[in-house]
Each structure stands twice: as structure tokens, then as C-alpha cells.
């Protein structure tokens, strides 16, 4: 994503050609208006960001240095003890494993299918817009509704998925109790909602690729697959990076799906043995069920750093994969 910048003609808009000769009150007001207005217009964002972005990030770091229980007016300063405890906390590492596992199971197939789907959607389809709207439909669904619906579909006893498996002569899977199976079920939920959305973003970028490039490659004797890997993919690089980074940030914070997938509704355990408890769910449990705000803040900061690191790794890997030819 580049920031387009057109600077040339703006000075014209800023000066009043006939104003310079007679400085009056009106004029001074107008000049003041020109000078101050831009700052007023951009101020709301910075005020809101300072309150809900910057302050929380810094204050979370501050809180993480205390043994801070909710409602506690004089919390004890304990330095880095929360972090020391966290690194020895098996439940945290377990939750991190779950998060990464669900993240990989969702984002990898999701992005591959999205790119292939986008390739299909670039064809000259009849009713092209209708197909696109249909593909985006899941994006409109509420996550909570979805979580509940999928928990029902993957129910161990009466779930439709197991019903179908049994009808096909296969043995039913305990989608909630089995760790890996629960990750798959949650990943399917995530993929169901986001694949179409990502496909449309990739499609938009694909349509920006000049047709002549494909025709030229065709004349050079490149088949469909070669044209896709050698023309389309490299040109999609910025978009693929964008899509990967956004799904990394979203995927590593996954919360709603595992929360609602629990057989014990309202629980934050992520299953009886925490088999699908993600880091954000553990954070929520620590803060708003056990009211241990200091420890939860430490979790939040570690998660933030992990997200930054994984997003950076993704940035380089995606760049490599898509940019082979350059």
C-alpha cells in the first residue's frame, strides 16, 4: 500500500489571490481559518487514538508491573515478576500453541483458496457481481451467531457434521474434546467467514493487472499455470502482503469463536482441558473472570510482541514467495 501524494497544485488552493492588498478583520479571520482548520479536522482521530490506542498500550505496560487485582486501589509493584511467572506458565504456552495451530489451520488454506477463487472470479462470468456478492455473504454474519451455529453443527452427539459422517459410514469425531479436531472446527468457522472477503480483495488487485501482460505471456507460449505463477502472482505481491498481515493480526487475536465453541456455554476455559483456549481467551479469563489485571496485562504485552514478530516474518515470507521472479 503506497500513499499517493500529489503536492503540486495545493498552494493555489491556499492563497486568496485578491486578498493581500487590504488586510481587514475579515481577512485575518480567513487566514486564521486556513491555518487552524486543518488541525481541527484531523484532531478527532488523534484524540481518540490517544485515548483508546496509545494510552492503553502504555498503561498496559505499566499495569503489568503490578500485582493488580480489579478494584484494588493500592496495587503492589512487583517489577517483572508477572512476566517471569508467565514464561513458566504452562497454560499460557498451551494457549499460545492452540492459537498458532488455529491460526495456521485457518490462514494458510484460507489464503490459498482465496487466491484460487479470485482467479476463477476474474473470468468473464455471467452475472459477475451476483457471484461476488454471494461469495462475500458470510462476511455480513455476526461472529456470535456464527459461533453458536457452528458449535451446534459440530456438536459431538447431535451435530449435523457427525450425522453426515455416520451416514457415510465413518466414525463420528468428538469435535470439542479432541484438541486437534477442535482446532480444525474453529478454523473452518474462521475460513467460512473470511475466505470470500479475502478473495474479493485479491480479485480487485488481479483486475488491475494489464491484460496485455497475459496476452504477451500467451504469445511466448506460457500455459495457464505458468501465466498464473509468473505473471499474476508477482504482481499481486503488495496485496498478498496486506492480506497476510491483516489475517495474522486478526488470527492471533482470535477470541469469539473459541469462546462460543465451548460445550459449557459462558465458560472461558476453552474446553475442559483448555484444548482450544487461545491467548486472547486466556487473557480475558485472567482479567475478567479471575480479575488479575496485572497478570493479564503481561499476557497482552507478550501477545502484542508475538503478533509484531509473526507479522514481520509473514511480511518477508510472503514477499519472497510472491516475488520469485524479480
Amino acid at each position: 500500500m503506497t500513499v499517493t501524494d500529489k503536492t503540486a497544485p495545493e498552494s493555489r488552493a491556499m492563497t486568496r489571490p485578491h486578498a493581500a492588498t487590504r488586510p481587514g478583520l475579515r481577512d485575518r479571520l480567513a487566514r486564521w481559518d486556513v491555518k487552524v482548520s486543518p488541525y481541527l479536522y484531523v484532531a478527532p482521530f488523534f484524540i481518540v487514538f490517544a485515548i483508546v490506542g496509545m494510552f492503553p498500550l502504555l498503561y498496559t505496560a505499566y499495569v503489568s508491573l503490578f500485582s493488580w487485582k480489579a478494584g484494588d486501589d493500592n496495587p503492589d509493584f512487583i517489577g517483572l515478576d508477572n512476566f517471569k511467572e508467565l514464561f513458566a506458565d504452562t497454560q499460557f504456552w498451551h494457549a499460545l500453541e492452540n492459537t498458532v495451530s488455529i491460526f495456521l489451520l485457518s490462514s494458510v488454506p484460507q489464503l490459498i483458496i482465496a487466491v484460487l477463487l479470485a482467479a476463477v472470479l476474474t473470468l468473464r462470468l455471467r452475472g459477475a457481481t451476483s457471484w461476488r456478492v454471494g461469495i462475500l455473504l458470510p462476511y455480513a454474519a455476526s461472529l456470535v451467531a456464527l459461533g453458536i451455529i457452528f458449535a451446534n453443527l459440530f456438536g459431538p452427539r447431535y451435530g449435523l457434521v457427525n450425522g453426515v459422517l455416520q451416514t457415510l459410514g465413518l466414525s463420528p469425531v468428538d469435535w470439542q474434546a479432541n484438541r486437534f479436531a477442535s482446532h480444525i472446527a474453529i478454523a473452518i468457522m474462521v475460513n467460512w467467514r473470511w475466505t470470500g472477503y479475502n478473495a474479493l480483495i485479491v480479485l480487485a488487485a488481479m483486475q488491475a493487472i494489464p491484460k496485455e501482460l497475459h496476452e504477451a505471456a500467451l504469445i511466448d507460449g506460457a500455459g495457464t499455470v505458468r501465466r498464473f505463477t509468473h505473471v499474476t502472482l508477482p504482481l499481486l505481491k503488495p496485496t498478498l502482503i496486506f492480506v497476510t498481515i491483516t489475517s495474522t493480526i486478526g488470527g492471533l487475536q482470535i477470541f469469539t469463536e473459541p469462546k462460543l465453541f465451548d460445550a459449557m456455554p459462558g465458560s472461558n476455559n476453552g474446553g475442559s482441558t483448555h484444548q482450544f483456549q487461545t491467548v486472547t481467551l486466556y487473557l480475558y479469563q485472567t482479567a475478567f473472570e479471575n480479575f488479575n489485571l496485572g497478570y493479564a496485562s503481561a499476557i497482552a504485552w507478550v501477545l502484542f510482541l508475538i503478533i509484531v514478530v509473526i507479522a514481520l516474518i509473514n511480511y518477508f515470507v510472503t514477499g519472497r514467495l510472491a516475488g520469485r521472479r524479480r
Binding site: M14, Y39, V52, G155, E215, I249, G266, S297
Partner: protein
């Protein structure tokens, strides 16, 4: 086949393509349909190995029970207030900032804009603990303002509106308005806003959908007695025994409004995504 014939074939779909797409769209629709199916019957259907595939007649009875179990009317009202306000302010503030960044000159403009783009990467969800502490100290916890204020304007909104305003608003128009003695805010209102209306409409739809479906923060900060629709849905499901006809009647009720909005405006939303992503 000759090269020219193959070039003409470039981009022509085969029949199987339509098959694949149809399967995909049916898959997209299925969970919605399933939720309505269960909501229109009773829990007995869930014990059957092969469930009935046509809706039954109990939907309204189940829906009525939703209103008895949780304050669903109140939740609907709250969601409309929250999403409506957030949408209005986000569109207004984003357009204002977009106008300033695209067309006005001021010291620090580029630096401030780059800063906004960078904040897109900060996961605000991770700030829920201090935000919760702050809301409690302000006495806002439980009130709708605690959900509205953090979402008054977004980095995405500012970025989006700026990108559009750069191309959509010619300097000549601004200059002409200034010659006529217009103040900045009048130029914004009478010249800029009409020019950027398509982008503002798309931003409005996105913001409304995102806000309507938001869950984690409202769950943290609102009480069960004064929920948004999503929080009410979650409360509907909490209990020792899950009454799926009831719960899925709730999800159906909560999904129908947004689904209708989506089906009416889907074309514009899709057009908006296509337009936004091209500027890579």
C-alpha cells in the same frame, strides 16, 4: 488451436466453473439456513440422525421466547444507537480528516498521515484492560458511551477517505469556493462532502456492519441488563442446558436485519472493496 484463437479464449469460463461457484455460494448460505431450520422447529429434530431439510412452523413461538429470556428489544435499540452513532461520527470525522490530508497544507501533514497508517497495525483489542479501568474510573462502564466513544473515528476511515478525496475533489472547485468567500468548514460541507459521497457511503456500510457485529469490547464493558445484540445472544446461550431452538431463533433474529441490509447494498459493498483494494 491457433494463438489468436487462444488469446480470444483468454478469460472465458468453462461450465465446471459455474458448478464450483454454485457449491461455494451454497456453502456460504448453509449455516444461515441451518440456523433458521433449527429455529423453526423444536429441539427434537436435533436428535434425529438425518434431520428434516425443510423449515417447521415454530419460528415465531421460538422467537417470542427469545424476547422473554433476554431484553432483546432493548438490545436491538442499543445496537441501533451504538452502530448508528459510531457510523455517523466515523464518516464525518474521517471525511474531515481525509479532506485536510488530501487537500489542505499544514505543517506536519505527511508525518501525521504516516503515523495514522502505522496505527492500522496496532491491535486495539489488546488495550481492553486499561480501557476498562479508565471506563470504570469515568463511571461509564455499563453505559452505551463506553462502547461509542472508543469507536468515534478509525484509522481505516481516515486512510480510506483521504485516498478517495485526493482524486475526487479538484483544486479548482476549492479555489472557486474560496474566491466566493467561503470559510473552510463551508467548503468541506458544500464542496468536499458532495464530491466524496460514494466513498463516504461505502465507509458508512462497513462501519455499521463492523460495529453491529462487535463482541469482545461490549462483552467486557456492558452488563447483561443493558446489552447490545451480540452480548444478548451470548447470554442467551449461557446456561447449563442449551436450548438450541431458542438460541438459534435469537441468532436468526439478529442476522435478518444485517442480511437484508447486505442483500440490498451488496453490490455497492462489493464495488467498494474492488475500488479500495486496487490502489496498491
Amino acid at each position: 488451436m491457433s494463438l489468436r484463437a487462444r488469446a480470444a479464449q483468454l478469460g472465458k469460463p468453462r461450465k465446471a466453473t459455474y458448478g464450483v461457484l454454485t457449491v461455494f455460494v451454497l456453502g456460504s448460505l448453509f449455516p444461515f439456513y441451518w440456523s433458521f431450520l433449527v429455529a423453526s422447529r423444536d429441539n427434537g429434530m436435533l436428535t434425529e440422525r438425518i434431520p428434516p431439510l425443510l423449515p417447521g412452523g415454530n419460528f415465531f413461538a421460538n422467537a417470542a421466547r427469545v424476547f422473554d429470556t433476554v431484553p432483546f428489544w432493548r438490545a436491538l435499540g442499543n445496537s441501533i444507537i451504538v452502530s448508528g452513532t459510531v457510523t455517523l461520527t466515523t464518516v464525518l470525522f474521517s471525511s474531515l480528516a481525509g479532506f485536510a490530508f488530501a487537500k489542505l497544507r499544514f505543517r506536519g501533514r505527511n508525518g501525521l498521515f504516516v503515523f495514522i497508517v502505522v496505527t492500522l497495525a496496532v491491535p486495539t483489542q489488546l488495550g481492553i484492560i486499561p480501557l476498562f479501568i479508565a471506563m470504570s474510573k469515568l463511571g461509564w462502564a455499563g453505559g452505551l458511551q463506553s462502547v461509542i466513544v472508543p469507536n468515534l473515528v478509525t484509522a481505516f476511515g481516515v486512510f480510506w477517505m483521504r485516498q478517495y478525496t485526493v482524486d475526487a475533489l479538484p483544486y479548482e472547485l476549492i479555489e472557486a469556493a474560496r474566491m466566493d468567500g467561503c470559510s473552510m468548514i463551508r467548503i468541506f460541507w458544500n464542496v468536499c462532502l458532495p464530491a466524496v459521497r460514494p466513498a463516504a457511503a461505502i465507509l458508512a456500510m462497513f462501519t455499521f456492519m463492523t460495529s453491529w457485529n462487535d463482541f469482545l469490547w461490549p462483552l467486557v464493558v456492558l452488563d447483561a441488563g443493558n446489552p447490545t445484540v451480540q452480548v444478548a445472544l451470548e447470554k442467551l446461550q449461557s446456561g447449563y442446558y442449551v436450548d438450541y431452538s431458542l438460541v438459534l431463533a435469537g441468532t436468526t433474529l439478529a442476522t435478518i436485519p444485517i442480511l437484508i441490509v447486505f442483500l440490498l447494498l451488496g453490490r455497492q459493498i462489493v464495488a467498494g472493496i474492488m475500488q479500495g483494494a486496487v490502489k496498491g
